[in-house]
Amino acid sequence: MTRMSYRTLLASLLLVPALASAEVSPLDLVQPVSDYKIYVSQQLEALVQGTRKFTDAIRAGDLAQAQALYAPTRVPYERAEPMAELFSDLDSAIDSRADDHEKAERDPAFTGFHRLEYGLFAQRSTEGLTPFADKLMADVIELQKRVQGLTFPPEKVVGGAAALMEEVAATKISGEEDRYSHTDLWDFKGNVDGAQKIVALFRPLIVKEDPAFAAKVDKNFETVENILAKYRKGDGYEPYDRLSEADRRGLVGPVTTLAEDLSMLRGKLGLN
């Protein structure tokens, strides 16, 4: 058998699983994917506007204002994370933590939100932060431009819900994301919002495929929202260290289960 014909057969065998989920037509996915791009565009516009106010406060030396704006500015980024992290250079520049760098906080490559967080909350000063503020502003604008020009890969959109819950499971539940400001619960909610948005956009299709699955996902989101709601404070949240051990443990189960369940979403919607 020549290599070419063997591959044709192999390719034909591979096509069969892709066609097997025939209840959901690929055309059905177009609307939710496009609605998601609109959602992400709105989040990134909010991110740009918020970052402008945040960095203005830093440049003006207004420590209190900058501290107050830190957590709410990050929320749209955490919501739009599945698309933002497709650009790993910007994701690293905007959102890396000290322990991603060998020299930790003193590493020159440590920039972005957490570098500013370190200055504002650990060193408690805006001194020397202007260059980092400028860079964050430039990076956020560049991110918006890149996402604007990106045709969203549907499997990354659908998989984004699971990816957000992985984020929460790996870094938000432990409180290691915002270690200087302890504003992790804001980020937590942002990730959960982003995941819920994706599920909501695809919900009609999910319900058609597997109504029990949809109900289970909804219930777990509800549990998470209810626990988080206990820590609401004004427009935001209590510091992470207020989270009781019982509630922290109460979050682990639904968050991990959501990560497991949402990892099945691509398969259920016929995306490989």
Partner: protein, 468 residues
Amino acid sequence: MHKSFPESASSRDAVSTERRRMLRGLGAAGGVLVGASAARAMALEAHPAPVDRVAQAAQPTPGAHAKHTQVTDAPSGNRSQDEWHACFGAHQAGVLTPRPASGMVASFDVLAQDAQGLAELFRTLTARIAFLTRGGPTPELAPGFPPPDSGILGPVVRPDALTMTVSVGASLFDERFGLQDQRPKHLIRMVRFKNDALDASLCHGDLLLQFCANTPDTNIHALRDVLKNMPGLLALRWKQEGSVPVTPAQPGEPVANARNFLGFRDGSANPDAADDSLMDRVVWVGSEHQEPGWAAGGSYQAVRVIRNFVERWDRTPLGEQEAIFGRRKASGAPFDGQQESDVPDYAADPAGKVTPLDAHIRLANPRTHGSERSLMLRRPFNYSNGVTRSGQLDMGLLFIAYQANLQEAFIAVQKRLDGEPLEEYIKPVGGGYFFVLPGVPAPQDGGPHHDYFGRSLLLAAHPLLEKS
């Protein structure tokens, strides 16, 4: 007999003369004991083998450099505790030696103050390695003294296929020991790659020891022995233990590479360790590599502690896992092949329709003209440490690779891998670059043993070192 069990400097004086005579007598008399406790007598009678083996030092044993076994084959679980590998030879053991089930790397800061101190360190280390890899009864002191051996392997140390491989880091070649001009060409302090999150407390070191044995206790015993014997010369910096799954060989099936904690075979496409001329080109430093003369017979060693996000991996569709690696998970075969040993044909797939262009194996080795310069011998272990603050598992790959040219092999390959899809699931957190010291020839029968690991390096920098 006492020449084969060199006693450490600290124990030599403390051992009572009566005990020493007794120990010496054992070999000649074949087991006659004078004044020994009952337990010890039982222990010695139950394990006569190491004593016999000492007399038969020239005989090879099962497992010693079985050339048909590849380095990363899964250990088959039928190993004997008496299996031993010679630590002396043209090259150090533990590189081409088939990998046993347990491994450990331990990194040290050298505390010696000068070249003489470093020489003493290497001499002592060599002596300990010679004993531990060969086995034998442990020395005893009177009960008023702390025992010289931890005793975790019992009163008679079984070799258990232990190899101990000594390598040195770039920091050893600073001004402390006058070795600046002797640093191997490519030996540098490891520099972070884009996906790294290096924890300074898990990186680098003046000296690294790689311990491999059939069981973890043998490695731990050896590490504790080293620490006990050289407290003023070495301080432990970091260590990582690891293991590979034991898979008994099935009749009629080829021996397969052991799996990593992502469930994939690790070590497919390793160069053939039985091919001496290939190993001379790819692994061992030789005259063609233009390194300092003392380094001939050594090798560059890249160590990376790479955490795997296993929960997230286990939630990833199988098709995606396979596309990320570029191989079928169950068989280890490439997409256009039938079995693990098949070589993928990328030339017939330039657009990456069969094996994606960013698949791990394709990026690591695109099999184009010139990519054979990047061959290296990988000999990794899986590690499983603890639980992170998020309640997720801290486990991953203790990656160890040997090559004659660090720049062209590991560093070039890792640069090609920068940005690969697998990065979503892995995070290098530690490790370093080291140089495996050249081998030391075995002592001549009956003669004193002057040679030791690192001697050629010290003499290259300080030719008059031994003249005093």
